[in-house]
Chain length 199, copies 2
């Protein structure tokens, strides 16, 4: 008996396939399931199935949705002239929480990373270009992550969209609000200085 019994081992392996879950955590989670009632475990399993079968991509912005269109695209009150381009659905939620941006989104589902085999063709860039053919669209805010891949993607989109006469902007770099200057890295501080504004 060097291994756990098979159904437990298999459940732990399934948990271990989830992002950021190691071997010990996977086992702890599997034991957690055993402590549930049969009904709770069935609900859990059903939630997994439902998430996979009911959720699909919004045909307009490629965000996740369980309706025909996502709630942002379906909202008639949103400004259709600005599209905020993000890497994943989590970024949409982060920006929505600010309650400041009233335009639409476009989810790329990744960032260009030739090292990892992610070429522009693998992202939802084709779909973004199609949306940009609408003369209503006047600005694209590129809100990809502030790292090498996100930067490369922003550059790529900028070269693609500027010839179409669309304004392409990027989120400002700077020191995070509430943080301590002491802990800001040099590149961030440099960008913050570079982008300084009149008070």
């Amino acid at each position: 008996m060097a291994e756990y019994i098979e159904p437990l081992q298999r459940l732990a392996e399934q948990f271990g396939r989830l992002e950021g879950i190691g071997r010990k955590t996977a086992l702890r989670l599997a034991f957690s399931v055993l402590e549930m009632s049969g009904e709770e475990a069935a609900d859990f399993a059903q939630a997994v199935i439902d998430a996979k079968t009911k959720i699909h991509l919004c045909p307009v912005c490629q965000n996740l949705t369980d309706a025909e269109k996502c709630s942002v695209c379906a909202d008639e009150g949103r400004d259709r002239s600005v599209i905020c381009v993000v890497e994943d659905p989590r970024a949409v939620m982060s920006i929505e929480k600010v309650r400041e941006f009233k335009g639409l989104y476009h989810v790329l589902h990744g960032a260009i990373s030739p090292m990892n085999g992610i070429t522009p063709e693998k992202l939802k860039i084709k779909e973004l270009l199609a949306r940009c053919e609408d003369p209503q669209v006047s600005e694209i805010i590129v809100a990809t992550n502030p790292n090498v891949e996100g930067e490369a993607t922003a550059m790529y989109l900028s070269r693609l969209l500027k010839p179409l006469g669309i304004k392409v902007t990027r989120l400002a770099y700077g020191v995070p609000v509430g943080a301590d200057l002491e802990y800001a890295d040099e590149v961030t501080l440099f960008r913050a200085l570079e982008g300084r504004r009149d008070v």
Copy 2:
């Protein structure tokens, strides 16, 4: 759109019910499921169901098993005169990994903790007493966790079993005080088994 879409939200809530999973981690895990293929998600859901339906307690030692008896109780080569009493199935695995203990186990499924409403009646102590009626049984090694509840349980069992003429021993303090058996390393566990003492 202040909330995530319903099926995703519901899946995240399900993950959030698992031990040690907070809100942010639960969401990350839910997104992980969305990145699986439909088949993988179905396998995951099935593993949850199977773990719950196929696993039950061994009628002898109360450890988890998917067979009639657990593999230790079913093993004719084990020494039936020594029973190692542990709090949970994870502790059985930890001790089995040492490959030193050749006796049987008994899983209490908890430790006495009046503060949390866990009285001796709620543990598998009745079942342990029934096993101790077998004259073959000569020693009970109490390997409950080295904390207050585990200590109290050891004392309780000692008072209960000594009058029956059974030797009751406790793991030596080699196991770090206040820790969990699950996380003890094999050498420490080996020393603890080797140095066990009368309670």
